[in-house]
Symmetry: C2
Subunit: 462 residues, 2 copies
């Protein structure tokens, strides 16, 4: 945990932004895999962590804005409970550590909220993303379950998102740590993904690195010779010389801050010529986008810039044709680059995605697009100093999409399908790093990791 002053100061800012009513913070519960008590690894809610720092299940926090009270709701363990889970810190201690003064049993929570509601006070909650929280909010607030997902407090979301979007010095330290653990996972993958191993053998070891550092993965590992599928999971497939491997993985620290990097590398000692060509285009797009980032610059413009670089590169290889700007404006590049350039990162790897991308990554005057490609750009708005984000352009030869769009005659002014079809078994390339926006422009998080073709080949063969 950070200091109690840190959490109290964060809550002070939030309370100033919000007018009246009660703010409800549901802590996460344990989540059953194949029966109720066989749990997935516990993951606390990030907003709960941000304002209170307590990494334990089965808790709720309430901030009563009108009476200026903060209350932890939960139940201490009995000695018989401790048979299973061991010594739990008393809730009074946990509350003290984050500067909360009042502890009440969970059985009082519903009553507290119902009374507030009856006296006409607002009950503010954030959009729930776990079904148990949806049910709990119905039980606690009386809002019908079908309406829970519409009735969240936009004011509450905006206040939290504004605050969490700007990282503090201590948060940036944790993010550096997360990215450095992430880089060590990639170093392992680049060195050890050799002819004859399976994707899952390597993926298991990457998870072991994250766990050994005291945390876990920040998202499910993508490690695949089929990198053209953006979120493809590792399989029991054996990789072979000639394959190009896309590895997108990240560690989460014990304080729940995320790293998220991608490297793409050959199984063989060297990139093939064709792999070098595609990789070079992606790396150029990546570097061009990074160079443009600074406070006040719109992230969507970096996305368009990277898209243009991809079109130019693919034109030089004969896979695309026509005017670059026209191609990008038409969306022809989305045959190869189907997703967004990057996203905010923090305690959530896609930071605050549960609040909805419109409220987090766009503004009142800037609506998120619904078009293929841009609809997957989670962040479009002007950057601010203190933002932390990823930059991750890619080129993906998805055979289903190629077949489908060719059959529809889509973008024939810009796409040389006869050339593109030769790449249907190529795979995919992505290069991704994590950055802090600061007054000077942009700073890499973590220590540099091999990224150029030469650096990757050197690391592979070291």
């Amino acid at each position: 945990m950070f200091s109690k002053e840190t959490y109290a100061a964060r809550r002070k800012v939030l309370k100033k932004e919000m007018n009246s009513g009660l703010l409800i913070f549901p802590g996460n519960m344990e989540a059953g895999m194949n029966y109720k008590d066989n749990w997935y690894p516990f993951r606390q809610d990030s907003t709960f962590l941000y304002y209170f720092g307590i990494n334990h299940p089965d808790l709720y926090m309430i901030i009563d804005l009108d009476e200026d009270k903060e209350i932890l709701f939960g139940d201490d363990l009995t000695p018989e409970d401790m048979v299973w889970v061991g010594a739990a810190e008393p809730l009074a201690n946990l509350a003290e550590k984050c500067g909360v003064e009042t502890v009440q049993p969970m059985s009082k929570l519903q009553d507290t909220l119902q009374k507030a509601k009856q006296s006409g006070r607002a009950l503010h909650y954030l959009p729930p993303y776990r079904s148990n929280a949806t049910i709990e909010i119905t039980d606690l607030t009386g809002i019908p379950i079908a309406d829970v997902h519409q009735n969240y407090s936009v004011e509450f979301v905006k206040a939290v998102a504004a605050q969490r979007s700007i990282k503090s010095t201590e948060e940036i330290q944790e993010l550096h740590k997360a990215v450095n653990i992430t880089a060590s996972m990639h170093r392992y993958a680049i060195k050890n993904t050799k002819h004859g191993v399976t994707e899952q053998q390597i993926a298991g070891e990457l998870q072991a690195i994250a766990i050994a550092e005291g945390g876990n993965l920040s998202f499910p590992i993508i490690l695949t010779k089929n990198g053209q599928y953006l979120h493809n999971h590792p399989t029991q497939d054996v990789v072979k010389n000639g394959d190009i491997i896309l590895c997108d993985c990240g560690a989460e620290t014990s304080m729940n801050y995320a790293g998220d990097m991608t490297r793409t590398f050959p199984v063989a000692e060297r990139f093939s010529d064709i792999q070098r060509n595609i990789y070079s285009i992606v790396l150029d797009a990546h570097e061009t986008a990074i160079a443009a980032l600074k406070p006040g610059y719109k992230f969507i413009d970096a996305h368009m810039l990277a898209s243009s670089k991809i079109v130019e590169g693919l034109k030089a290889l004969g896979l695309m044709k026509g005017d670059t700007n026209d191609a990008v404006n038409a969306g022809a590049h989305t045959l190869f680059f189907q997703c967004g350039l990057g996203h905010f990162m923090g305690m959530d790897v896609h930071d605050m995605e549960n609040f909805g991308e419109q409220l987090v990554g766009y503004t009142q005057h800037m609506q998120k697009s619904t078009e293929f490609g841009l609809k997957s750009l989670r962040l479009g708005k002007e950057l601010e100093a203190g933002n932390v984000l990823t930059v991750e352009p890619g080129i993906y030869f998805n055979p289903y999409l190629i077949d489908s769009w060719k059959a529809q005659g889509k973008y024939t002014d810009f796409v040389n399908y006869s050339e593109v079809e030769k790449f249907k078994d190529f795979g995919g390339v992505r290069v991704e790093e994590d950055f802090l926006i600061d007054q000077g422009g942009v700073k890499l998080l973590g220590d540099p990791l091999a990224k150029t073709i030469e650096e990757i080949e050197e690391l592979k063969n070291a």
Copy 2:
């Protein structure tokens, strides 16, 4: 997957047991960790796997008993969906692989069930254990959400539990495989848990072994120098010579069959004298219980037998006193052995625990106890050939329980608290293996793993 005939034959048995109405099989959905789309590793529902074998999210199966129809509900992916997850097998192929003839879009599911309900037919479902399934059952059947957990079909549970309790030859092969992977995890832990490593360093590697074999963990790893807490998770604590480590872990195969074993071993090269003494008592209880198991024998009797052995051993060490039978009947041993001797194992590590232990591990004429200790015995009833179960006695010196019961003057006729207090920092010992009940009695699953003090010391120092 097993053969389509296997799944069809299983459903044939089930359909014979059930009279009329519709059987609802909700497949599991992806489960979000810290936002909706950041998923925990997908785990299909075990009953869905048992009858249909399809290991994909977002599916429902319906068996219409009256019209003798089986229907898969789900939606095929578009080429645009495949951008993210890659080539998905068409649902028609998946249905064919398990011998189901009809596929319908998910949008037809609610209508199908509502129509059946309106014509007075029963909608049978099993107890849901994920909140999203609870909400879905409300939406599909019209049962109010507060009643969903009471209104499940006992008849359906009994039919499925009877069938899944008896393992087929092909299931036993998978269980052997799961236990052998589990044993290799233990071999790694015994050899590598040395002075100066952290619990999480070892735990990460154990998970890597399970993942490399194509599956994952069957439950969260317990690897701790504080084995007195039964489900304690690994921490960043460094282990030291003198510590005794309890490692309880298991692999799940790619077919989702579980292993579950425990070994307890010293960090140092040798067990200390006092560690040898406690270990020997547990091992004696373990062997005695195993020797008694056979078809027709009540598992609760093996639990009592192991409990007696523990009392005898602790009497010999001066920690307990009085008549052994009286002590066990009074429950005095539960100060040290607070849980049950074992449980069924199959696709779920606690097989079918979501059905409730009364319906799975007990009978109409044998109610599960509510007393401390016995209330945690998940299996009490007579064994049958084909049952697969764990045997896992233990001795746990829980300082909170010792202090609490001493202060209450509990079991002073049987417990020498002054001696017991000297063990408050000892830790815990458990020995656990997995067995098949067959006509001849009992068969160890998997190849034997070091278990005696001599074998464990030899493996550690090999």
